[in-house]
């Protein structure tokens, strides 16, 4: 990477305070040496275009999930009688008489006498415009506020951007609501395994000895066995009739109880390495307590590495939840997650006719790839002093 490409990013974060500090205009090099570790990480990350783009996309995804009620035209269990298994609505742009407008036609379900399949035929006599910030079905945002404004919608006829399922429910709305469980389980799960990993890895790495041996054997064991069969048997132990929230935390717990080992390894490895550094010795010599050495001197030394590991762990969690729910051992309907939605896609002949049921799979794949790109960018940026 050349200096030319770096300059704009750097100049944008230099504050007046920095300039005053050295009493004059600073060269790029000087700014580089005066920058804090986090500034350096930010600069290097911003050079990684794919990672920045992925981060933005991920933020968009999470916003969609957080405000799912607003962004989705319907709720998760709104059924449209007579519109079961409808393909995605065709959106038209040019009005019959000329002029531009986003609109759809009403559709009618017709039974094909030859194949005994239902076809949806557009009725082109009336146009139904798609309007934005439209009043639609009432909902309770986060179960707190009543509202009925949706980002977009069509009056009188249903609008299925992603088609509808076999009960006539909008797949787009269900995908957006499903993002809530699927996306958050990654974060919550990683948070729990992070705590477990930091505590156990920290104990193991800092104190060493027999404690270290025991924890390491447990980690070796957990790493050596295939996770999925274990998850399956553990998830099978959960009663199917638990309420959604309870099931959610139980599954998150199962995933993180087996998922903390990687983080613990990172923590331990880095602690072992940093424990031998001169500055740790100096801190100990100055009479600092164990706790202070760990939190003030050791933790900041590998926070960036930890963030990288966490970023790579999130997609794994999301995938595990999707896999478990997909095979019927994870979240259960009426809860909606991407894995639950994909249960409808288990039947090949059904999918062959309603390929829009696979759309949630594309969302999962996209999310996983985005997280990996962000992780990749972070890994390159994590150690800003290696050039």
């Amino acid at each position: 990477m050349s200096e030319q490409t770096k300059t704009p990013q750097i100049s944008s974060v230099v504050t007046t305070e920095d300039v005053v500090l050295v009493g004059g205009k600073k060269s790029v090099d000087e700014r580089y040496y005066y920058a804090s570790q986090w500034e350096l990480i930010r600069w290097r990350f911003s050079l990684h275009r794919m990672a920045v783009f992925s981060l933005v996309m991920l933020i968009v995804l999470y916003i969609l999930a957080i405000f799912a009620e607003f962004f989705s035209p319907y709720t998760t269990d709104t059924r449209f009688e007579g519109f079961q298994q409808s393909p995605p609505s065709k959106i038209h742009l040019i009005r019959p008489g000329g002029g531009l407008q986003l609109y759809v036609f009403g559709t009618k379900r017709v039974l094909d006498q030859a194949t005994f399949k239902f076809n949806f035929v557009e009725d082109t006599s009336i146009i139904y415009p798609i309007s934005f910030f439209v009043q639609g079905e009432p909902y309770k945002m986060w179960n707190l506020f009543r509202a009925d404004v949706h980002l977009f919608g069509v009056r009188d006829v249903p609008l299925f951007l992603f088609g509808s399922d076999r009960l006539g429910r909008d797949v787009l709305s269900r995908t957006l609501y499903g993002a809530r469980i699927s996306l958050s389980i990654g974060l919550v799960g990683v948070f729990i395994s992070f705590i477990l990993g930091v505590i156990l890895g920290g104990i193991s790495g800092y104190f060493g000895g027999i404690v270290d041996d025991i924890i390491q054997r447990v980690i070796d064991f957990l790493i050596a066995i295939p996770g999925l069969p274990l998850w399956m048997t553990l998830a099978a132990a959960l009663p199917r009739d638990w309420p959604t929230l309870k099931l959610y935390f139980a599954i998150t717990l199962i995933l993180s109880v087996l998922g903390w080992t990687g983080l613990a390894r990172v923590v331990r490895g880095k602690l072992l390495q940093l424990r031998e550094e001169d500055y740790t010795l100096a801190a100990r010599g100055a009479g600092a307590s164990d706790w202070r050495i760990i939190t003030r001197h050791l933790l900041p030394g590998f926070t960036s590495h930890l963030i990288v590991s966490i970023t790579f762990n999130v997609p794994g969690m999301i995938l595990s939840e999707t896999a478990l729910s997909f095979i019927g051992l994870g979240m259960q309907p009426p809860a909606v997650s991407w894995g639950v939605l994909l249960q409808d896609a288990q039947n090949l002949t059904a999918v062959a006719q309603q390929n829009w049921l696979l759309i949630p799979a594309l969302w999962v794949i996209a999310t996983v790839l985005l997280f990996n790109f962000v992780g990749d960018g972070l890994r390159d940026a994590a150690d800003p002093y290696t050039r």
Binding site: F221, I223, A224, I225, P226, G227, L228, P229, L230, M232, T233, L234, A235, A236, A237, P239, P315, L319, T322, A323, F326, I327, G328, L329, L342, A345, Q346, L348, V351, A352, N355, L358, A361, L362, V364, I365, V368, L369, N372, D376
Partner: protein, 332 residues
């Protein structure tokens, strides 16, 4: 050498014991058991099952004994008689159910591993020798995608794709007309056609990571002094590449096997469920759903044992391939 192999094999025993305990006690976790499940099923379908009959049924399957007793019975049965217990759901010994499926699972997961190596090593070598060319960037990017893309979701999409556009259903290991047919060339071809997708998909993640590992290691090796010396002495580039650097670069394929195998086996289980192959994957799913404990426990144990034994074989192979590894202690 022999001592090393024996020592490593002996080290496997405590691991296997812990594994069997974990597998068994996990299966004890469900709040119900198969007999209760079955009785409930019978009662729901209108068959009257009295409490005494229910008790008898439980006794027959040994469910009235405390867990450690049942565990000991199970394990000693496996060791002394090779008897893995009786599947309550299939009403057959576990051995019979798994007899064909376990070898098939091993075949699929290990050929997926070999397949991913065959694909990834040449690509990795090409990528390293053509560093920073467009092809290198394309390969690195595709490898990254392969590494990150979840195989089972891809299996779902690929199954739909081949079915819709080629009219070929990749589900199962045989098409319906060959299912019970005797072995013939046509049947073997049919099996191969069905095997391609699972092999590619199960190996996908490993293909991606192997390309990366081979490329990075080979790049390190190619910068070393001995390569420069050899080049200065006029060795041809081709010979130079294959003589040492490539051999060095593919060492990690064996040494990281203990990390790769668990993921590979998990992937096989899941993809086999999606593609309903006649392996242990779909059986395990049904067993866990019905809380058929002996079957589920046996499969979990077999899969875990497969993983650690595979890793052991990898370590032994590594010693054979790389004589620099000392037998005393293998560095992790």
């Amino acid at each position: 050498m022999l001592f090393y192999i024996i020592r490593r094999t002996l080290m496997l025993i405590p691991i296997l014991i812990v594994m069997s305990m974990v597998a068994f006690f996990l299966i004890q976790l469900p709040p119900g058991d198969w007999v209760s499940f079955r009785i409930e099923q019978l009662r729901m379908s209108g068959v009257n099952v009295s409490d005494i009959e229910a008790e008898n049924l439980k006794r027959e399957f040994g469910l009235d004994q405390p867990a450690p007793v049942r565990y000991w019975r199970w394990v000693s049965g496996i060791i002394t008689k090779g008897y893995w217990g009786r599947s309550l759901q299939w009403e057959k010994p576990v051995n019979e159910i798994l007899a064909e499926r376990v070898p098939m699972t091993i075949v699929i997961s290990f050929s997926a591993l070999i397949f991913s190596w065959i694909v990834a090593v040449p690509i990795g070598i090409y990528s390293a020798t053509h560093k920073y060319t467009i092809m290198d960037y394309v390969i690195t990017f595709l490898g990254f995608i392969g590494l990150a893309t979840p195989g089972f979701l891809l299996a779902l999409i690929m199954a739909w794709f081949t079915f819709s556009y080629f009219g070929f259903s990749p589900l199962g290991l045989f098409s319906s007309e060959y299912m019970d047919a005797p072995w013939s060339t046509a049947r073997a071809v049919d099996l191969l056609r069905h095997l391609i997708m699972p092999l590619v998909l199960v190996g996908l993640g490993n293909t991606g990571s192997t390309i990366r590992v081979v490329r990075n290691n080979l790049l390190d090796e190619l910068n070393k002094q001995y390569v420069i010396t050899a080049r200065a002495k006029g060795l041809s580039e081709w010979k130079l590449l294959w003589k040492y650097p490539v051999r060095m670069a593919i060492n990690p394929l064996l040494s990281t096997l203990s990390w790769v195998l668990p993921g590979l086996i998990s992937g096989t289980v899941l993809i086999d469920i999606v593609l309903s192959l006649q392996t242990v994957g779909p059986v395990l799913l049904r067993a866990t759903l019905a809380q058929d404990m002996y079957l589920a426990g046996s499969i979990t144990l077999i899969l875990s044992a497969m993983t650690v034994i595979g890793a052991l074989l990898g370590d032994i192979a590594l010693v054979l391939v790389d004589p620099r590894i000392r037998f005393g202690r293998v560095e992790k």
